[in-house]
């Protein structure tokens, strides 16, 4: 059971880490700044 949990966890995490590398790959400074600014401009109160 311990090995099962350990290997399972590591596989899931390896997948997630690969996903992260893929997601961050080639993200320009501009794209990062844009993402960082999301919470500052996310609603319109005149509706």
């Amino acid at each position: 059971m311990i090995w099962f949990l350990f290997l399972g966890d590591m596989l899931v995490m390896a997948f997630m880490a690969a996903l992260a590398v893929w997601a961050l790959w080639g993200s320009s400074d501009k794209a990062v700044d844009q993402a960082a600014g999301i919470p500052l401009n996310d609603e319109r109160r005149d509706g």
């Binding site: 059971m1 311990i2 949990l5 350990f6 966890d9 590591m10 899931v12 995490m13 997630m16 880490a17 992260a20 997601a23 961050l24 794209a31 990062v32 700044d33 844009q34 993402a35 960082a36 600014g37 999301i38 919470p39 500052l40 401009n41 996310d42 609603e43 319109r44 109160r45 005149d46 509706g47």
Partner: protein
């Protein structure tokens, strides 16, 4: 003018906020009561329903699952729509999820008082509730990921990574840890036994702390801190790296709860090493948070909500430093099975989880109803009561825990225990009395908050807020 007639679904957030406040008061009141029982053990008056064994579970379940999860659902629903520029996906399902959770908590709380207990820490509820929790949790996942799937902007903001991890990991932990064979409505037997059961339980238990009480609330921090400070997070890249490093190392830190037990030595050592590794991502977030506020210090003088959030960051730093230290085997020899652990838990639970949630609610509720906070003065009072309460609580438990650990380890000249368990426990009374006073102080502050927010929202309607207009590609 509305955008395609669309507006954010904020009523569900407002109700969940109200439920979270209700559970926080009930949870803390039961916490104060069990703290008092440790000073005056006879105040259960012979009723099982008031016994320590049952009330303690009511306390942990109402604070973690009633208060914590309701607050996380409220803020996840609020922020995911905004960070995706679309209203919630399947809003009826969101209501099912919000109300179903409350019904489950109410029924679950009563069942604990009635003595139903699965016997697993932080997963005491019996199997009918486990199934209901799984169903509600899956609806939470559908609403959350459905909203992300229909988002109008491409990047998935970092808070959503944390909330997403909370949803996925808790589903996995809950389902595996709850596998059991029911024998009656109120009794089931775990599918795991002995050491395996211990490993599964702490794989669940520690990752619940990790992905719920830490990760989930980091989602709250990453959305509400920039919003509140009115500036973007200091380093967005660092936040993403911290997320993945955190996710990667947390998942295997659980065995630090099983040091010197019958689990293999290498599992214990790995748990210790992974816990030490965790310091890096935890403090990366701390640095990111502090640097974000660094440009808005002047706001701290006037804005009580921001004060709560900044103080919560300090306690986050403290608890995430203390945790890895306690995971070191030679430190754990002293700290394990003592009140030091209870002090550690509450420096995180009160100092981090409760304070960041209070700060967020002070920010959120006035915005939801389009009004000023009823009383800044009361909020400031709350701040000082909360700070005094958490400091006293932690100091009392450190004092109690370190003395217990050292006294238990002390041997006389022929190698026998110098002090009996009974003698040591009898000497704990002053510490326990101090903890009770501390808890009451913290609770009193939360009552002020409930009154303040009630007066802010009383008789008002939820304001309609629309997503910003779509950004044209290349604009």
């Amino acid at each position: 003018m509305k955008l395609n007639g669309e507006q954010y679904h904020d009523r569900v957030t407002a109700w969940l906020t109200g439920f979270a406040i209700f559970w926080s008061l009930l949870g803390m009141a039961s916490g104060v009561y069990v703290a008092a029982e440790l000073v005056w053990p006879t105040i259960d008056f012979g009723h099982e329903w008031l016994s320590y064994g049952r009330l303690r579970n009511l306390h942990t379940n109402t604070v973690i699952f009633g208060f914590g999860i309701s607050a996380l659902m409220a803020t996840a629903f609020y922020s995911v729509q905004r960070t995706c520029h679309v209203p919630l996906f399947a809003p009826r399902l969101a209501w099912f999820c919000a109300l179903g959770w409350q019904a489950g908590m109410l029924g679950g709380g009563i069942s604990l008082l009635a003595g139903w207990n699965g016997g697993k820490e932080y997963a005491e509820l019996e199997w009918p509730f486990d199934i209901a929790i799984a169903v509600i949790w899956i609806s939470f996942a559908i609403v959350f990921f459905g909203t992300i799937a229909k988002r109008r902007i491409q990047p998935i903001y970092v808070s959503n990574w944390f909330y997403g991890a909370l949803i996925i990991v808790v589903a996995m932990l809950h389902i595996v840890n709850s596998l059991a064979i029911p024998v009656t409505w109120s009794k089931s037997y775990s599918l795991f036994a002995g050491t395996q059961d211990a490993v599964v339980q702490w794989w669940y238990g520690h990752n619940a702390v990790g992905f719920l009480l830490t990760g989930g609330f980091l989602g709250m921090l990453y959305y509400f801190l920039p919003k509140h400070a009115d500036r973007p997070i200091w380093s967005y890249r660092l936040s993403i790296i911290a997320f993945w490093a955190f996710t990667y190392s947390y998942i295997w830190a659980g065995p630090h709860h099983l040091h010197y037990n019958a689990v293999p030595e290498w599992v214990q050592s790995l748990g210790m090493v992974m816990s030490l590794v965790l310091l890096a991502p935890s403090w990366a977030t701390l640095v990111n948070g502090v640097m974000t506020v660094a440009g808005a210090w002047e706001k701290l003088r006037t804005d009580p909500a921001l004060k709560f959030i900044v103080l919560s960051l300090a306690f986050y730093g403290l608890a995430t430093f203390e945790g890895p230290m306690m995971a070191i085997k030679s430190v754990n020899v002293v700290s394990h099975f003592t009140d030091w652990t209870i002090g550690h838990v509450h420096s995180g639970a009160l100092g981090w989880n409760a304070l960041i949630t209070f700060g967020t609610f002070y920010f959120l509720l006035p915005r939801l109803v389009g009004a000023e906070l009823y009383s800044t003065r009361l909020a400031n009072w709350h701040f000082w009561l909360a700070l005094a309460g958490v400091m006293l609580y932690v100091l009392a438990m450190w004092g109690a825990g370190v003395s217990q650990g050292l006294l238990w380890l002390s041997l006389d000249e022929i190698g026998e225990l110098s002090y009996s368990f009974k003698d040591i426990m009898a000497s704990m009374k002053p510490y326990y009395a101090l903890r009770m006073v501390a808890g009451f102080t913290f609770f009193a502050g939360a009552v002020l908050m409930a009154f303040n927010l009630w007066m802010t929202a009383k008789g008002r309607r939820i304001v309609c807020i629309a997503p910003p207009p779509p950004v044209r590609e290349g604009a």
